[in-house]
């Protein structure tokens, strides 16, 4: 099977089953949103997809090959991962931050970059509209601007798979919309994009496919219209939802806590 595939993936943390029987295939050219309440296993799933954790049971394969046998360098070239609220510990220049995304291709920040690396960095900056941020130290930027550069860092790897863990969690609406547009463009380019989201409205509007996680299991998997039905998400979140139709598109809105 091509692309990134999980088969009956499970994760065990002490007595708790964090993921159980998760079988998903992520196709190229599509944005898949992973939604679900806090603690439902979104981050754990993405960390498994990125090859950062060893499955307790089941497998994660990329084009048929288990991630564990892929080797860290090759895996890094083919799967880019944007961790949740990732921060840089040093006030690097914007350009150097994005250049970190080229490390899997052998770039060395202490040496002049190769033409291919420089071109990939320029492309990534273009895609997040971040050329103006390239020569500024990131401690002089706003949180939204830093988040854009972090996204550019993941794009600069030009991997077949892009995993983003809550990339819009702390962004204002303008940046959130920009980020989703960049992810859509990455899918249009042929990338396989997997993004975890808290905002079901964004998931409904921008994802080709939505996976609803609840208690570490897949509660629903399909196009937004089927996966985000009130019955499914009300059971997953324990919250009453109302469906609004915006420009003919149903958008779920959390309405009242169910007692």
């Amino acid at each position: 099977m091509t692309g990134l595939v999980t088969d009956r993936l499970a994760c065990q943390r002490g007595p708790r089953r964090v993921l159980d029987e998760v079988s998903l295939a992520f196709a190229a050219g599509a944005v898949t949103a992973i939604v679900g309440p806090n603690g439902s296993g979104k981050t754990t799933l993405l960390r498994h997809l990125a090859g950062l954790e060893t499955p307790a049971a089941g497998t994660v394969t990329l084009d048929g090959q288990p991630l564990a046998t892929l080797g860290p360098a090759q895996r890094a070239r083919r799967i880019a991962f944007l961790p949740q609220s990732v921060q840089a510990y040093w006030p690097l220049l914007g350009r150097d931050l994005v250049a970190l995304g080229r490390l899997p291709h052998g770039a060395d920040l202490a040496r002049p970059l190769s033409a291919a690396d420089a071109a990939a960095i320029a492309r990534a900056l273009d895609r997040v509209d971040g050329q103006a941020l390239a020569d500024r130290p990131i401690d002089a930027l706003s949180q939204g601007e830093r988040a854009r550069l972090m996204l550019a860092r993941a794009l600069a790897t030009e991997a077949a798979v892009l995993l983003a863990d809550e990339p819009v969690a702390s962004l204002d609406p303008a940046y959130a919309l920009d980020t989703m547009a960049v992810l859509r463009a990455e899918a249009a380019r042929g990338g396989s994009v997997v993004v975890s989201l808290h905002d079901l409205g964004l998931a409904a509007r921008f994802a080709d496919r939505v996976v609803v996680l609840a208690g570490g299991r897949v509660a629903a998997d399909g196009p937004p219209g089927t996966a985000l039905q009130p019955a499914i998400i009300e059971a997953a979140y324990g919250v009453g939802f109302r469906m609004l139709a915006v420009e003919g598109q149903p958008v779920p809105v959390a309405w009242a806590r169910r007692t």
């Binding site: 950062l52 360098a73 921060q87 510990y89 006030p91 970190l100 920040l109 202490a110």
Partner: protein
């Protein structure tokens, strides 16, 4: 910047060969002059170069690795642990029976301290509490050194505490140089291979791993490298504090804060600082020559306070 630093290191090395009770000893033209040159000045200047380079480079490595601008072999107890292990080797008679026991003990002591600190970082320790762990290691190692020396049958041993806790590179002969130099050079080479991994760690451990860095192997390499450098340096020179703190701070801004690019310039600045301080204590009109570690601490401790304040306000500790 690197080229200018190399030039400065070369100039200081020559000055270090020349300065002392007998200035320009080789101009005496007799046996005494050459004996002073070979037996005293060459080992002293070369040790200054190597020990300073080792401390500057180790400071840069530890700060990048622990993602903490205040990490430094002296402040966080790595040097003190190496010193304690060296003292044990020295006063148990092991070093007399087997010369390499001295640097090897120092290396083991330093590696143990680094491993303890890394465990603290893994457990999610913040910038400040990592320093507290370091302070605890430091205090414990200092107390153990005092204990071993107090129990030593050698009547002069107790006076030598100051030597191990406030380092010095005076009166070391070529033998000491030969013991330490290979390990220091090996350690410096080992950490050079970690440059790209340290750059990736700017984004934290998860992102670094997703960029293909095997953080466990990187950790082993850095523990080995820092252990070799700090252990060997400390086993012949004692604890020379704060050099590893100051050196990376002086160069970081000039290389755009890239951790990997900080390594070589920090090594050179470390050599400049130690050789410069060692020349200064020979020129100061004190009745007894000051210990090198005393001078670096006098300068370095206020610098630490300054660095803490700056780290708080500007960027880190968030």
């Amino acid at each position: 910047m690197t080229r200018r630093l190399v030039l400065l290191v070369a100039v200081l090395y020559v000055v270090s060969l020349a300065v002392g009770p007998s200035v320009w000893p080789w101009r005496l033209g007799n046996e005494v002059g050459w004996a002073i040159f070979w037996e005293l000045r060459v080992p002293r200047a070369t040790l200054g170069l190597l020990v300073g380079g080792a401390l500057g480079l180790s400071g840069a490595v530890l700060q990048a690795w622990l993602r903490n601008p205040l990490a430094e072999p002296g402040v966080i107890g790595v040097s003190a642990c190496a010193s304690f292990a060296a003292v044990c080797a020295f006063y148990s008679g092991l070093a007399a029976a087997f010369a390499l026991a001295l640097p090897l003990a120092g290396i083991a002591g330093a590696a143990i301290a680094v491993t303890l600190l890394m465990a603290a970082v893994r457990a999610g320790t913040s910038v400040v509490s990592l320093l507290l762990v370091g302070v605890a290691i430091n205090a414990l190692a200092g107390a153990l050194i005092a204990l071993v020396l107090a129990l030593s049958p050698n009547p002069f041993a107790y006076q030598e505490i100051s030597l191990w806790l406030a380092g010095s590179i005076a009166d070391r002969d070529l033998r000491y140089l030969g013991l330490a130099a290979p390990f220091i050079v090996a350690g410096a080479l080992v950490v050079q291979g970690a440059r790209r991994g340290l750059d990736a760690l700017s984004l934290g451990e998860d992102a670094a791993r997703s960029l293909g860095v095997e953080t466990n192997r990187l950790g082993l390499r850095l523990t080995l490298g820092v252990g070799l450098m700090v252990g060997a340096a400390t086993s012949v020179a004692g604890v020379i504090g704060f050099v590893g703190l100051i050196a990376p701070h002086l160069v970081r801004g000039r290389v755009g804060f890239r951790p990997g690019a900080t390594l070589v310039p920090s090594m050179l600045v470390g050599a400049v600082l130690v050789m410069g301080a060692d020349i200064l204590i020979r020129l100061l009109p004190t009745s007894v020559e000051l210990q090198l570690g005393v001078l670096t601490s006098l300068v370095g401790a206020p610098f630490l306070v300054y660095a803490v304040r700056r780290a708080r306000s500007a960027w880190l500790a968030t």
